[in-house]
Protein backbone atom coordinates (compact mmCIF):
# COMPACT_ATOMS: atom_id res chain seq x y z
CA UNK A 1 0.00 0.00 0.00
CA UNK A 2 2.99 2.28 0.29
CA UNK A 3 4.24 1.63 -3.26
CA UNK A 4 5.25 4.83 -5.10
CA UNK A 5 2.99 4.02 -8.05
CA UNK A 6 -0.06 3.84 -5.85
CA UNK A 7 0.87 7.13 -4.23
CA UNK A 8 1.39 8.75 -7.62
CA UNK A 9 -1.97 7.48 -8.84
CA UNK A 10 -3.66 8.79 -5.71
CA UNK A 11 -2.08 12.21 -6.13
CA UNK A 12 -3.03 12.26 -9.80
CA UNK A 13 -6.63 11.40 -9.00
CA UNK A 14 -6.79 14.03 -6.29
CA UNK A 15 -5.39 16.66 -8.63
CA UNK A 16 -7.82 15.75 -11.39
CA UNK A 17 -10.73 15.92 -8.96
CA UNK A 18 -9.54 19.25 -7.63
CA UNK A 19 -9.26 20.67 -11.13
CA UNK A 20 -12.74 19.47 -12.00
CA UNK A 21 -14.37 20.85 -8.88
CA UNK A 22 -12.58 24.22 -9.15
CA UNK A 23 -14.20 24.62 -12.57
CA UNK A 24 -11.03 24.48 -14.63
CA UNK A 25 -11.79 23.50 -18.19
CA UNK A 26 -10.79 23.74 -21.81
CA UNK A 27 -12.59 25.32 -24.77
CA UNK A 28 -13.54 21.78 -25.88
CA UNK A 29 -15.22 21.18 -22.50
CA UNK A 30 -17.34 24.29 -22.92
CA UNK A 31 -18.29 23.34 -26.47
CA UNK A 32 -19.43 19.95 -25.18
CA UNK A 33 -21.52 21.64 -22.53
CA UNK A 34 -23.11 24.00 -25.06
CA UNK A 35 -23.86 21.03 -27.28
CA UNK A 36 -25.70 19.26 -24.46
CA UNK A 37 -27.74 22.39 -23.70
CA UNK A 38 -28.43 23.04 -27.37
CA UNK A 39 -29.73 19.50 -27.87
CA UNK A 40 -31.97 19.84 -24.84
CA UNK A 41 -33.37 23.12 -26.17
CA UNK A 42 -33.81 21.84 -29.71
CA UNK A 43 -33.82 18.11 -30.56
CA UNK A 44 -33.16 18.98 -34.21
CA UNK A 45 -29.80 20.50 -33.22
CA UNK A 46 -27.44 19.98 -36.17
CA UNK A 47 -24.05 20.88 -34.73
CA UNK A 48 -21.97 24.02 -34.45
CA UNK A 49 -20.54 26.07 -37.29
CA UNK A 50 -17.44 28.25 -37.11
CA UNK A 51 -18.68 30.25 -40.09
CA UNK A 52 -21.93 31.01 -38.30
CA UNK A 53 -19.97 31.87 -35.16
CA UNK A 54 -17.78 34.31 -37.03
CA UNK A 55 -20.85 35.91 -38.59
CA UNK A 56 -22.59 36.24 -35.21
CA UNK A 57 -19.45 37.72 -33.64
CA UNK A 58 -19.09 40.43 -36.29
CA UNK A 59 -22.76 41.33 -36.67
CA UNK A 60 -24.01 44.55 -35.09
CA UNK A 61 -26.93 43.23 -33.07
CA UNK A 62 -27.56 46.64 -31.51
CA UNK A 63 -25.25 49.65 -31.33
CA UNK A 64 -22.50 47.09 -30.92
CA UNK A 65 -21.11 43.83 -32.17
CA UNK A 66 -18.85 41.51 -30.16
CA UNK A 67 -16.21 42.79 -32.53
CA UNK A 68 -16.82 46.38 -31.35
CA UNK A 69 -14.56 45.64 -28.38
CA UNK A 70 -12.84 42.40 -29.33
CA UNK A 71 -12.20 43.55 -32.94
CA UNK A 72 -12.85 41.46 -36.05
CA UNK A 73 -9.70 39.47 -35.25
CA UNK A 74 -9.98 37.77 -31.84
CA UNK A 75 -6.27 36.97 -31.81
CA UNK A 76 -5.58 40.69 -31.67
CA UNK A 77 -5.66 42.98 -28.64
CA UNK A 78 -9.10 44.44 -28.15
CA UNK A 79 -10.18 47.87 -26.94
CA UNK A 80 -13.28 48.75 -24.91
CA UNK A 81 -15.50 50.77 -27.22
CA UNK A 82 -16.54 53.20 -24.47
CA UNK A 83 -13.60 53.48 -22.11
CA UNK A 84 -10.73 52.67 -24.46
CA UNK A 85 -9.38 50.10 -22.03
CA UNK A 86 -7.14 47.46 -23.53
CA UNK A 87 -8.64 43.94 -23.72
CA UNK A 88 -6.50 40.82 -23.95
CA UNK A 89 -7.04 38.64 -27.04
CA UNK A 90 -10.07 36.35 -26.96
CA UNK A 91 -8.86 33.46 -29.12
CA UNK A 92 -7.41 30.64 -26.96
CA UNK A 93 -4.53 30.22 -29.40
CA UNK A 94 -3.49 33.81 -28.71
CA UNK A 95 -4.39 33.76 -24.99
CA UNK A 96 -4.34 30.35 -23.27
CA UNK A 97 -6.21 31.70 -20.23
CA UNK A 98 -9.41 32.14 -22.25
CA UNK A 99 -12.21 29.61 -21.75
CA UNK A 100 -10.59 27.80 -18.83
CA UNK A 101 -12.78 29.10 -15.98
CA UNK A 102 -16.48 28.24 -15.96
CA UNK A 103 -17.48 31.15 -13.71
CA UNK A 104 -15.70 33.66 -15.94
CA UNK A 105 -17.15 32.24 -19.16
CA UNK A 106 -20.66 32.37 -17.71
CA UNK A 107 -20.21 35.91 -16.39
CA UNK A 108 -18.87 37.39 -19.59
CA UNK A 109 -21.40 35.70 -21.86
CA UNK A 110 -24.19 36.89 -19.56
CA UNK A 111 -23.05 40.50 -19.40
CA UNK A 112 -21.81 40.95 -22.93
CA UNK A 113 -24.79 39.24 -24.57
CA UNK A 114 -27.11 41.47 -22.53
CA UNK A 115 -25.23 44.49 -23.76
CA UNK A 116 -24.69 43.51 -27.40
CA UNK A 117 -27.61 41.23 -28.25
CA UNK A 118 -30.00 42.66 -25.60
CA UNK A 119 -30.79 39.16 -24.38
CA UNK A 120 -29.03 35.98 -23.29
CA UNK A 121 -27.15 34.15 -26.03
CA UNK A 122 -28.48 30.69 -26.81
CA UNK A 123 -26.30 27.58 -26.40
CA UNK A 124 -26.32 27.32 -30.21
CA UNK A 125 -24.90 30.83 -30.53
CA UNK A 126 -22.32 30.30 -27.79
CA UNK A 127 -21.24 27.00 -29.34
CA UNK A 128 -20.94 28.51 -32.81
CA UNK A 129 -18.88 31.44 -31.52
CA UNK A 130 -16.58 29.29 -29.40
CA UNK A 131 -16.12 26.81 -32.23
CA UNK A 132 -14.91 29.70 -34.37
CA UNK A 133 -12.76 31.25 -31.62
CA UNK A 134 -11.13 27.92 -30.82
CA UNK A 135 -10.02 27.61 -34.44
CA UNK A 136 -8.63 31.14 -34.85
CA UNK A 137 -4.86 31.25 -35.13
CA UNK A 138 -4.52 27.46 -35.05
Amino acid sequence: MSSPRFLLAAIGLAAATAAATVGAATPADFIKGFEQSARQADPSFAGFSAARGQQFFRTRHSDWACASCHTDDPSAQGKHVVTGRSIAPLAPAANPERFTDAAKVEKWFRRNCNDVVKRACTPQEKGDVLTWLAGVGK
Binding site: H80, V82, T83, G84, R85, A103, K107, R110, R111, N112, N114, D115
Partner: protein, 151 residues
Protein backbone atom coordinates in the same frame (compact mmCIF):
# COMPACT_ATOMS: atom_id res chain seq x y z
CA UNK B 1 25.21 69.69 9.60
CA UNK B 2 21.99 71.30 10.85
CA UNK B 3 20.50 71.42 7.35
CA UNK B 4 21.21 67.72 6.93
CA UNK B 5 19.46 66.84 10.17
CA UNK B 6 16.56 69.06 9.21
CA UNK B 7 16.33 67.42 5.79
CA UNK B 8 16.47 63.94 7.32
CA UNK B 9 13.75 64.91 9.79
CA UNK B 10 11.58 66.28 7.00
CA UNK B 11 11.95 63.10 4.96
CA UNK B 12 11.15 60.98 8.00
CA UNK B 13 8.01 62.97 8.77
CA UNK B 14 6.79 62.96 5.19
CA UNK B 15 7.50 59.27 4.68
CA UNK B 16 6.04 58.31 8.04
CA UNK B 17 2.35 58.02 7.19
CA UNK B 18 2.99 57.10 3.60
CA UNK B 19 1.25 54.01 2.25
CA UNK B 20 3.23 54.13 -0.97
CA UNK B 21 5.85 51.65 -2.09
CA UNK B 22 9.35 52.63 -3.21
CA UNK B 23 8.88 51.87 -6.88
CA UNK B 24 6.05 54.37 -7.17
CA UNK B 25 2.77 55.13 -5.50
CA UNK B 26 0.19 52.40 -5.07
CA UNK B 27 -3.44 52.27 -4.07
CA UNK B 28 -3.94 53.52 -0.53
CA UNK B 29 -6.87 51.12 -0.30
CA UNK B 30 -6.70 47.89 -2.26
CA UNK B 31 -8.62 44.64 -2.66
CA UNK B 32 -7.86 41.93 -5.21
CA UNK B 33 -11.50 41.16 -6.07
CA UNK B 34 -12.32 44.85 -6.42
CA UNK B 35 -9.34 45.47 -8.67
CA UNK B 36 -10.09 42.44 -10.86
CA UNK B 37 -13.84 43.08 -11.25
CA UNK B 38 -13.92 46.89 -11.22
CA UNK B 39 -10.79 47.22 -13.33
CA UNK B 40 -11.79 45.01 -16.24
CA UNK B 41 -13.51 47.67 -18.36
CA UNK B 42 -11.99 50.85 -16.94
CA UNK B 43 -9.24 51.72 -14.50
CA UNK B 44 -10.31 50.75 -10.98
CA UNK B 45 -11.49 54.11 -9.64
CA UNK B 46 -10.16 54.53 -6.08
CA UNK B 47 -12.93 54.25 -3.46
CA UNK B 48 -12.05 57.63 -1.97
CA UNK B 49 -13.44 59.36 -5.07
CA UNK B 50 -17.06 58.81 -3.93
CA UNK B 51 -18.92 58.58 -0.64
CA UNK B 52 -20.42 55.42 0.82
CA UNK B 53 -23.96 56.32 -0.29
CA UNK B 54 -22.77 56.62 -3.89
CA UNK B 55 -21.03 53.27 -3.74
CA UNK B 56 -24.18 51.64 -2.33
CA UNK B 57 -26.16 53.04 -5.23
CA UNK B 58 -23.51 51.86 -7.67
CA UNK B 59 -23.54 48.29 -6.33
CA UNK B 60 -27.35 48.18 -6.30
CA UNK B 61 -27.51 49.02 -10.01
CA UNK B 62 -24.58 47.07 -11.45
CA UNK B 63 -26.74 45.52 -14.14
CA UNK B 64 -27.40 49.07 -15.41
CA UNK B 65 -23.92 50.43 -14.94
CA UNK B 66 -23.69 53.55 -17.13
CA UNK B 67 -25.49 51.75 -19.93
CA UNK B 68 -24.02 48.27 -19.59
CA UNK B 69 -24.41 45.12 -17.54
CA UNK B 70 -21.56 44.97 -15.03
CA UNK B 71 -23.17 42.52 -12.61
CA UNK B 72 -21.00 40.18 -10.53
CA UNK B 73 -21.83 37.14 -8.40
CA UNK B 74 -23.20 37.60 -4.87
CA UNK B 75 -19.96 36.81 -3.05
CA UNK B 76 -17.92 39.23 -5.13
CA UNK B 77 -20.60 41.92 -4.81
CA UNK B 78 -20.64 41.63 -1.02
CA UNK B 79 -16.88 41.82 -0.76
CA UNK B 80 -16.52 44.70 -3.22
CA UNK B 81 -19.40 46.66 -1.69
CA UNK B 82 -17.96 46.37 1.79
CA UNK B 83 -14.53 47.44 0.57
CA UNK B 84 -15.90 50.49 -1.26
CA UNK B 85 -18.08 51.68 1.62
CA UNK B 86 -15.29 51.16 4.12
CA UNK B 87 -12.88 53.23 2.02
CA UNK B 88 -15.27 55.78 0.58
CA UNK B 89 -14.76 59.50 0.94
CA UNK B 90 -15.81 61.14 4.18
CA UNK B 91 -15.34 64.72 3.07
CA UNK B 92 -18.24 67.16 3.22
CA UNK B 93 -20.59 66.71 0.26
CA UNK B 94 -19.60 63.10 -0.08
CA UNK B 95 -22.93 62.20 1.48
CA UNK B 96 -24.63 62.86 -1.83
CA UNK B 97 -25.52 59.78 -3.81
CA UNK B 98 -24.07 60.97 -7.12
CA UNK B 99 -22.72 58.08 -9.17
CA UNK B 100 -20.58 59.93 -11.69
CA UNK B 101 -17.17 60.77 -10.24
CA UNK B 102 -16.58 63.33 -12.97
CA UNK B 103 -19.75 65.21 -11.89
CA UNK B 104 -18.63 65.66 -8.31
CA UNK B 105 -17.66 69.13 -7.14
CA UNK B 106 -14.32 67.80 -6.03
CA UNK B 107 -13.44 66.43 -9.45
CA UNK B 108 -14.60 69.55 -11.29
CA UNK B 109 -12.57 71.73 -8.94
CA UNK B 110 -9.44 69.57 -9.36
CA UNK B 111 -9.74 69.79 -13.13
CA UNK B 112 -10.94 73.36 -13.54
CA UNK B 113 -7.80 74.25 -15.48
CA UNK B 114 -8.49 71.59 -18.12
CA UNK B 115 -10.08 73.05 -21.26
CA UNK B 116 -13.13 71.56 -22.96
CA UNK B 117 -10.95 70.98 -26.03
CA UNK B 118 -8.59 68.80 -24.01
CA UNK B 119 -11.41 66.46 -22.98
CA UNK B 120 -12.36 66.08 -26.64
CA UNK B 121 -8.90 65.06 -27.86
CA UNK B 122 -9.10 61.59 -29.45
CA UNK B 123 -6.41 60.31 -27.11
CA UNK B 124 -8.47 61.43 -24.11
CA UNK B 125 -12.09 61.06 -25.28
CA UNK B 126 -13.69 61.69 -21.87
CA UNK B 127 -12.94 62.76 -18.29
CA UNK B 128 -13.57 59.15 -17.25
CA UNK B 129 -10.39 58.14 -19.04
CA UNK B 130 -8.02 59.00 -16.20
CA UNK B 131 -5.12 57.02 -17.64
CA UNK B 132 -4.97 59.28 -20.71
CA UNK B 133 -3.19 61.93 -18.62
CA UNK B 134 -2.48 60.15 -15.34
CA UNK B 135 0.04 57.48 -16.33
CA UNK B 136 -0.08 55.90 -12.89
CA UNK B 137 -3.89 55.67 -12.72
CA UNK B 138 -3.74 51.89 -13.15
CA UNK B 139 -2.13 51.63 -9.72
CA UNK B 140 -3.90 54.52 -8.03
CA UNK B 141 -1.26 57.18 -8.62
CA UNK B 142 -2.79 60.51 -9.61
CA UNK B 143 0.15 62.70 -8.63
CA UNK B 144 -0.42 65.98 -10.45
CA UNK B 145 3.31 66.42 -10.97
CA UNK B 146 3.31 63.34 -13.19
CA UNK B 147 0.44 64.50 -15.42
CA UNK B 148 1.10 64.38 -19.16
CA UNK B 149 -1.62 65.67 -21.46
CA UNK B 150 -1.39 63.87 -24.82
CA UNK B 151 -1.22 65.76 -28.10
Amino acid sequence: MNTRILAALAVAILAGGNAYADEGRRFAADDATWRAECGSCHIPYPPRLLGAASWRGMMAGLDRHFGVDASVDKAAAARIGAFLERNGSTRRGADSAALRITDTRWFIHEHDEVSAATWKKPAVKSPANCAACHGGAERGDFDEHAVRIPK
